[in-house]
Amino acid sequence: MTFMYIGKDFTPPDAQGKITGQARYAEDFRKEGMVFARLLTSPVPSGMVRNIDASEALRMDGVVGILTADDLPAAPRPGVPALSNELTYVGQPILALVAISEQIAENALERIKLDIERRPFVVDPLVSLTAGGPDAYPEGNVMSRTADGMALKSLKWAPQSVEAFRNGRDPGDVEYTTEWSYGELDAAFAECSVIVEEPFVTAGYPHHSLEPRTCMSYWENGRCYFHGSLQSQSAANAPLARMLGIELKDLCFINETTGGGFGSRIGPYPFMAITGYLSRNLNRPVQVRITREEEFSIGSARSGMQGWIKAGLKPDGKVAAVDVIIVNDGGASGSGSGSASAGAISVVYQPTAMRFRGVSVFTNTTPRGAQRGPGQNEMHAILEPIMDKAANQLGMDRLAFRRLNAPDNSAKVEANQGPVTSAYMREAIDMGSELFDWPAKINQPRRNGSKVIGVGVGMAYHGAGNNGFDGIVRIGPDGKIYLHTGVGNLGTYSYAATVRAAAEVLQCRWENCEIVRGNSDLGLPHSSGQGGSNTIFTHTRSNWVAAQDAVTKLKEIAAAELGGTVEDYSIGEERVFKTATPAQGLTYAEAAQRAITLGGRYSGAEYPDDINELTALAVQRIAGSGLVGVAKDNLEKNGTAPGLAIGFAEVEIDLDTGKYDILDYLGVAECGTVVHPKGLSHGMNGGGVWGMGMAGFERHVYDPQNGLPANVGLYQSKPPTFLDLPVTMRNAAVNIADPQSPVGARGIGEPAMGCAAAAVTSALADALGGHLFNRTPVTPDMIIDHVAQNTYNNKSLKTNTF
């Protein structure tokens, strides 16, 4: 299909504001009479607040008041309450203090005296799982299903089972909380000529969104005006309204720009409740801005893994069987991604049989949540060097091995082995092999003095498309096309890329379009949470159907006025006209004016029954202002829309120093039709940078002695810098349309990171003669210890090493 806009570069309208500083984040908004709240957080990893003495703080000039957990509705346990007297991690909010300035608020926090009863704590899941080990909560360390729902319980493994697990063996007869399997595992292993069995550890780490999250709210005439910072403009409106105890119509959510989310800002985060309650109680605008350090603890984090994998290859190289166990570090929220990790293996290698057993263990560390490719990306980083080992044992080229097993249109996905909408991984591998020149890279001389070259390849997957959301387009009597979107401006420019699907349908000039976004009172449709690479697939569809609805209405209006039937009409150059006699027609502006006059479904006075409540409210707001196209995405979707990518990396390790340079990097996206080439390129590179951070730099470190986090600042957490990356990063895309997207597009955000992380860990293992660290990140000390055969650092699946 030839498109006007899909596949073409454009400049998103907010790009200039991002460069000049004119873009407005939640923190930039002020309101007369506004006061500022700051949080007092837990200094201990586990305990109970017995008394709060704020008397001295409250006597200070400029202090307005405090809010404690006792002032909020009781929060479910275990969970991530906005404020809490029960403390389960360092940095957990205990109270909010309000003052007329941030400085006064910060100074006043110093004057508050807390009486805290300490409890035992744990920062390493395996320590908690070991019989006799501490639990993060008094009632236990895992969630378990009971007759009354899910509840905490204490799950323990025998010390010898934990020891077996630490040493790379199946722990035997132990209890898990999540299990799935498909195929005949034992039979499949029996067919294998190569079986590899390895333990592994990955570190969790925080999101480091550039914008420390901020909320500001005020109330007028019973409505709450709420400035926040979420990944999606619309997805969290309903839960935020519930959090505030108001009806959806009484919430105006404003979110023009978000400084990164990466999974940590999908739903309304708990301290949004603080802002809303304080502003209502005080009847003043209240801003709550957290610090960079608080973003580390409040902003959530990726879950770490401690695991074991056994994979078998048949003599022809086909992956026959995979057995994997994952213990997730769930932090104070207990959230783990083990099942997703295992599911990713099922997609990229299509094993005939597979089993996953897992448990997510609560620890007294920062709450865990989604982070770019949660589960999948860290699994790929671990998996690929292990699969390299298996391919090498079989004497098979590593790329040929992957090509043999790669997912295609007949691929099956995860535990239920459902279908894919389409998959062209083999084409991605071939494209990458040629662009990267794989044969030449792997056959080059490897050793030069203390330097040694390694070449790696990494595949990655994430489900990348959803359906069932709504779209709204409006044609104004001024002739302009108003593209209403509930997609948030979280830094990817997908809000702009997706509405181009509507412009495509309406065949209108892009410069005549105006994107309406960032404020729910502007009439914005319900949208997805924009987690997990979903936006491009999901919202090109919802924009497409809304625009189709508008086109239908244009033709109906024209037919009613000029005669004939809808089938007699076409659109083009912002006119609807008789196909046979193009001079007979209406401009979009004229048709919009007719729509206003006609009312009903043409003007938005009426709307479909199946749209979301938020979309219905949005249509009510804009009704009568033009021709309103509004629809729910009821297009066919059968199967998982996969985001797939393959990364290629060439590294040079200096064996003297343990440092390595990434000499070359190529990422190839398999994401259907490319919607926005520059956007894709930036996404592949940006994801690639983060993947390199996962492979070599970033990690949580908690001190097991006192539960304190060691790296709460950017310089301590070490995301890679410009000088730690390849001089050039290359990317490409297969660009074959997915049949279940009207524009052919699927998402790619998550795999862009995972394939880079995996390519680098694969290359490091290759450089070191196949040595497997089975750990992320791989840092210089680990490489030196391997080279020097040091015995100092026996870390045996321990987390939190530093």
């Binding site: 400085q103 003297d656 001190d703 530093f802």
Partner: protein, 329 residues
């Protein structure tokens, strides 16, 4: 646990004469805080981990700036920024070792405001200490890093004495290698201390990393002609190539004549609380040609006597490797 990103209330003095600054420093003593580029200062103060009553901003004192040629070398004003140091023709031409070291400090933005004096006088970066825990260095009675479970990957392999923090300065090893002198003024006069003696370990004074005392100001650094235009080598190994502190660094100055090394100074950073002279290495290379054969003879001389902690055994290999690489150039 309050978390801060707003500076606390603090008295601010902005003298324009060094004499006035010295008077203030004397009068305020422990209650005052000297401000140069602020790259160490602002973190401490923002976090309220240090709570001085007053800040003495030295940036208005012009006499503390600039790089001057002297009869016996070069004198560097204390407030000279690291960027100015890197770009200075005299430094680049004669003491490129120092320029190379300064170029590896943090990031361009930090080097643009960070000063020579601040880089050498900055406090240790042990995260336990920075977090405000009551460790030995902070006046308490234990070390959190030197325990079986301590997070001590970045800590000392030499010279532990209750505290196991290391020197974080990139320029300090270079200054020791170049036999720099530190000019210290107080109201009672001026004293000049060899760089090697300027830095002190916890065995000498666990609360301070230099000999500077309340009332004193480091006003300049002097580089003698002794090592001008010598053969130099600097290398810093850190996790990241920017905005990071060294895991281990090395600064070496060598005088070659007749195909052999006549004299040499090898100094390692980040292996103990002070820049560490590698005296055995220096002895071993004197009289030897610079190159692979001599490098191989060094073996594990650089790490002899090291006492690694649980997570920093890799530093032994690293300091040995860097000593050899200094010989190879």
């Amino acid at each position: 646990m309050p978390s801060h990103d707003v500076m606390p209330d603090i008295e601010l003095y902005q003298p324009v004469q060094v004499e006035d600054a010295l008077a203030l420093a004397t009068r305020l003593a422990d209650r005052g805080w000297l401000l140069g580029g602020g790259q160490d200062t602002y973190g401490w103060l923002k976090d309220r981990a240090k709570v001085p009553e007053a800040m003495i901003d030295l940036n208005g004192i012009e006499s503390l700036r600039g790089i001057r040629e002297t009869a016996d070398g070069v004198e560097i004003g204390a407030l000279t920024t690291l960027t100015e140091l890197i770009n200075n023709p005299l430094i680049k031409e004669r003491y490129s070792l120092l320029a190379s070291a300064a170029e590896r400090v943090a990031s361009p933005q930090i080097r643009n405001v960070g000063t020579v004096a601040g880089n050498v006088a900055q406090d240790v970066r042990c995260w336990y200490y920075r977090r405000g825990l009551s460790c030995y260095r902070a006046g308490g009675n234990l070390c959190y890093a030197d325990t079986p479970e301590g997070m001590n990957r970045e800590h000392a392999i030499f010279g532990a004495s209750r505290c196991v923090a290391v020197t974080p300065s990139d320029t300090a090893p270079a200054l020791v290698a170049l036999e720099a002198s530190m000019v210290i003024r107080s109201e009672s006069g001026e004293r000049v201390v060899a760089a090697e003696d300027f830095f002190i370990g916890p065995n000498v004074d666990i609360r301070h990393t230099t000999v500077l005392r309340p009332g004193e100001i480091l006003t300049s650094v002097r580089l003698p002609a002794t090592w001008a235009n010598a053969t130099f080598y600097f290398e810093k190994v850190a996790d990241r190539n920017a905005w990071d502190f060294a895991l281990v660094s090395i600064a070496a100055a060598m005088r070659e004549s007749g195909g052999v090394i006549q004299d040499a100074r090898f100094v390692a950073g980040a292996v103990q609380c002070t820049p560490r002279r590698l005296l055995d290495v220096e002895s071993a290379v004197r009289g030897q040609p610079r190159g692979e054969a001599t490098a191989q003879t060094l073996g594990t001389l650089a790490s002899q006597g090291a006492q690694p902690l649980n997570h920093n055994g890799f530093k032994l290999h690293l300091v040995d490797s860097l000593a050899k690489r200094a010989l190879l150039g």
